[in-house]
């Protein structure tokens, strides 16, 4: 029996009750049942859970590795000695430089673009070696104090593991393409302890589309990885969330100011990276051995000058900023120093992520703006913590250009929905300013600098979509009624009108007929018959004005004219489209 047979045909009645499932199982052999259970779409969901588990375990190990690297390289104390500040990142930089050049060249950078490349270029294939390399080099870099974060590497490690599992399971090419984002979501969710944000980020920035099949797998993998991560590392968020409150609506102005400041900071940060990264890459190859070391040395100097907080991911300092432990002036200095430090680490090709530095800069900037506003307007009730939280979302929206994720990330991290209005306002300002001053998003610029041409999710989101109404033409002649007789129709035409004529059928639907066919039917003596009954039983497909124009392409090669009808009344004709009008519209659009 065919596995795909309709279960409804197997209905039996037992004790007066319909039991579809039992009947279906009885009607199938065990082998068929097994085959059905392991059908690829279902198996993919099961595999997603395994991807989540493996990614979660890998991320837990990654966290251990970072912490151990930190303890052994920077010492176990919160106060670092000057020698360690200078030596740890620079010596680790030397090792990282050699490892990246000789063993793991694919581990440079954050890992988000590599995951996107796996989806769009390499059919989901990412060498497992990349995961090993990323694990070692990023742990060493972050643990030694380079100003980078563990989230993007976790994302890439998750994608690598997923790709490995997909290859071992011999998935089809379509599934293989999707498997890297599934692993990426798992890795990110575990690293950030925020499954919703991870799912949104992967959908928003990597896959770029919502479909039930992808969403199910991404959600399953993200949830299972977070469960595993929480099993080992606990469910606490990365920082203690302060009480969030918004008492006075006028305070929203303060958050708007934060959005503006955050937007400008995002542009400065992104411009620095996009300017200096290609310059560093263009330097002679031998310098690349030393670039991470020099970056580490300069980072140590920044730390020695009074800002050791910029070393590493810096979550503990985000926590401290949220609880008002720094003055607003120092917070502003820390935000600026972190931008410089991250710039140094990232453009030198040191493997590591941008998420944590982005959150750090945002939190410092937010708390600083909040503190300054409290000095200027003491009646404002928002705590430094609230501003820091909103600030994190602002940089996320402005720098990473993931507006949806930025809002949900703050909500998920804070667990407080009263913050949603300030976050939306501030993020909108930051996003608009960042987009206005830097039209191409940072990840897309980095991709292009690497010589790859991957689809830009932001450009896709913002792209003008052509609709049927853009190519629609008014009807060039009479529209016949299927209820009228052939003679009446011919009389109505009176020899005029276009060759192809639309016929409105009853009770609904459309058809078309050539004038010549009508005359032939009349010559056959069918003048008194209803026009609808004479036409072949085939319906002309119809469109609505708001349909994407690409939908018209499916029909215009088979039908000379396609009716465009109102959504309120399918018999009301708004216009028609033809192959010529559609192609003309596309040509005009392409010419700009």
């Amino acid at each position: 029996m065919d596995l795909e047979s309709n279960p409804e045909t197997e209905v039996t009645v037992e004790n007066g009750h319909t039991n579809v499932a039992t009947a279906w199982i009885h009607g199938h052999s065990p082998r068929a049942l097994l085959r059905s259970a392991f059908r690829e779409d279902r198996f993919f969901l099961v595999l997603s859970v395994f991807i989540g588990v493996f990614s979660g375990l890998a991320v837990v190990c990654f966290r251990f590795a970072i912490d151990w690297a930190r303890i052994y390289l920077l010492g176990s104390g919160a106060v670092l000695t000057p020698a360690r500040m200078l030596l740890a990142p620079s010596l680790a930089g030397l090792v990282i430089g050699a490892l990246v050049i000789h063993f793991f060249p694919a581990t440079r950078g954050s890992g988000v673009n590599q995951t996107k490349a796996a989806l769009y270029i390499f059919n989901g294939n990412i060498p497992f070696r990349t995961a090993i390399g990323k694990f070692i080099t990023a742990a060493l870099a972050i643990g030694s104090g380079h100003s980078l974060g563990p989230e993007d590497p976790s994302l890439q490690i998750g994608a690598c593991l997923a790709s490995l599992l997909g290859r071992k399971m011999r998935l089809s090419r379509d599934r293989m393409r999707l498997i890297a984002p599934v692993g990426a979501a798992a890795g990110l969710a575990a690293a950030f302890n925020a499954p919703i944000s991870a799912v949104l980020f992967v959908i928003e920035e990597v896959i770029g589309r919502w479909t039930a099949g992808i969403l199910g797998s991404v959600v399953l993998s993200a949830i299972s990885s977070v469960v595993v991560m929480r099993w080992f590392l606990g469910s606490e968020s990365l920082f203690r969330i302060p009480a969030v409150q918004l008492k006075n609506p006028t305070e929203l102005i303060a958050y708007a100011v934060l959005g503006v400041v955050g937007g400008l900071a995002s542009v400065a940060f992104a411009s620095g990276i996009t300017t200096f990264r290609p310059k560093c890459k263009a330097l002679p190859r031998w310098t690349q051995y030393f670039q991470p070391a020099i970056a580490g040395l300069l980072l140590g100097v920044i730390a020695m000058l009074g800002a050791p907080q910029v070393m590493g991911a810096g979550y503990e300092y985000i926590d401290q900023a949220m609880h008002g432990q720094f003055t607003w002036q120092f917070l502003a200095i820390l935000a600026g120093a972190k931008i410089v430090a991250t710039l140094l680490s990232f453009v030198s090709g040191t493997p590591g992520g941008m998420f944590a530095p982005t959150l750090f800069i945002g939190a410092m900037l937010g708390a600083s703006v909040g503190g300054a506003q409290h000095v200027l307007f003491p009646h404002l009730t928002g705590s430094a913590g609230t501003y820091a939280l909103v600030g994190m979302g602002v940089l996320f929206a402005g720098f990473l250009r993931a507006p949806m994720t930025s809002v949900f990330m703050v909500l998920e991290v804070s667990g407080n929905y009263s913050i949603i209005v300030p976050v939306i306002i501030a993020n909108t300002f930051a996003y608009v300013i960042s987009r206005g001053l830097q039209p191409i998003a940072i990840f897309d610029v980095l991709t292009r600098q690497d010589g790859l041409e991957l689809p830009s999710m932001e450009e896709l989101r913002e792209e003008d979509v052509l609709r049927v109404e853009d190519a629609m033409q008014p009807v060039g002649g009479p529209v016949l009624d299927g209820e009228k007789t052939l003679d009446q129709a011919l009389a109505e035409l009176n020899g005029a009108g276009p060759e192809e004529i639309l016929v409105r059928m009853s009770p609904g639907g459309w058809n078309s007929v050539k004038q010549e066919q009508l005359r032939e039917l009349s010559a056959d003596g069918k003048g008194n018959s209803k026009l609808g009954s004479l036409l072949p039983i085939r319906q002309v497909p119809f469109l609505h004005p708001d349909h994407p124009l690409e939908m018209a392409l499916r029909h215009v090669d088979r039908w000379p004219i396609v009716p465009v009808v109102s959504r309120a009344d399918f018999r009301q004709l708004e216009g028609v489209v033809s192959q010529r009008t559609v192609l003309e519209r596309y040509r005009e659009f392409g010419e700009g």
Binding site: D67, S76, G324
Partner: protein
Amino acid sequence: MASPKLARYRLYLRQRPTLLVVMSIVAVIFFLAVTGLSRIYYRQREFLGNRWSTRGLADLNAKNFGAAVTEFRTALLYSRDDYSYQLNLAEALIGLKRTGEASAYLINLWDREPDNGVVNLELARIARQQTRTDEAIRYYHNAVYSAWPKGQEHRRREARLELIDLLLQIKDQGDAQAELIALAANVDDEPEMQPIIGRLFLRADDYEHALAAFRTALSQDRRDAEAMAGAGYAAFQLARYPLAQHYLEEAAAANPKDTQSAQLLQTTNAVLHMDPFRPKISSVDRSRIVMESFAAAGQRLNACPLPKGPAAPDGSAVSLSDEWNTLKPQVNALKRNPNLADAAMDLVFRIERQTSAVCGTPTGTDLALLLIAKLHEGS
């Protein structure tokens, strides 16, 4: 044949159910390995956390707050939610007068354990410092009824004493008295607490309970000069002058440097000496005292001239001075007319009351007369 068999095994291995089983086994092994790693990881973190916390505690006890803050912060890196590390850090921050930061930690701790006495007491102290009185009182109340890790009764008492001090500071005598009565009931069997409670009762203007507390203290240590002075003061305020005289004499004798008691004793002696209505007094003595009092009132009137009094029923304004002058010749002949003593003393009392209202509390004989006036008020 081996080759087809091997091929069949390979085929089985490539089947998805088989791969799923293999994947499950690998996942379990990976899971166990990470469990082992996590044990090592957490053991190391616990060790480091304890090490830094021990250093922090040593610095905290040595009042080296700056170092203690750094060390507890480091300890928290390894155990972010450790309650005792956070609490110790908050205490070190309070030591550095960084109450804002300390509050952040304490509020976090309070959210986790709202009935922790230490946290409530520290929050109360910070709120008091920042003159958020209502909040401070609430936290003090919490601290009084909270659970304390050790020495619960002692720590609760400490919290209550601070609460009483705050209530007295904001002049909420009623609530302070209520708290003091509750405190006194809890320390009935602790004589060393009685003088403290007695003093607080004095500050709360509850002289009856103050006297009782000092007497309890004296029943344990009859030579406690402080308790004698306190009892004397309380008895004085209760207008129990013979009792006050007894305690004040003993207090002054036990501690010659106690000028306050000596001064109070003087006033008490004067009251007892100048009271013409005390029992068992001869008419001669009474007349003498009335005459002395009348003379003293006249001097007081001269020193503190009063504005004209209310108009008499006949329309003429009669001042106390006029009254005094009118009565003076009769008082000089008091021995011949002892019935005049009541009228003379009534005038004396009125003069003392009104002059004290205008010119402030008097001293010496006038004070004694004023106190006698209060003593016989309404009689």
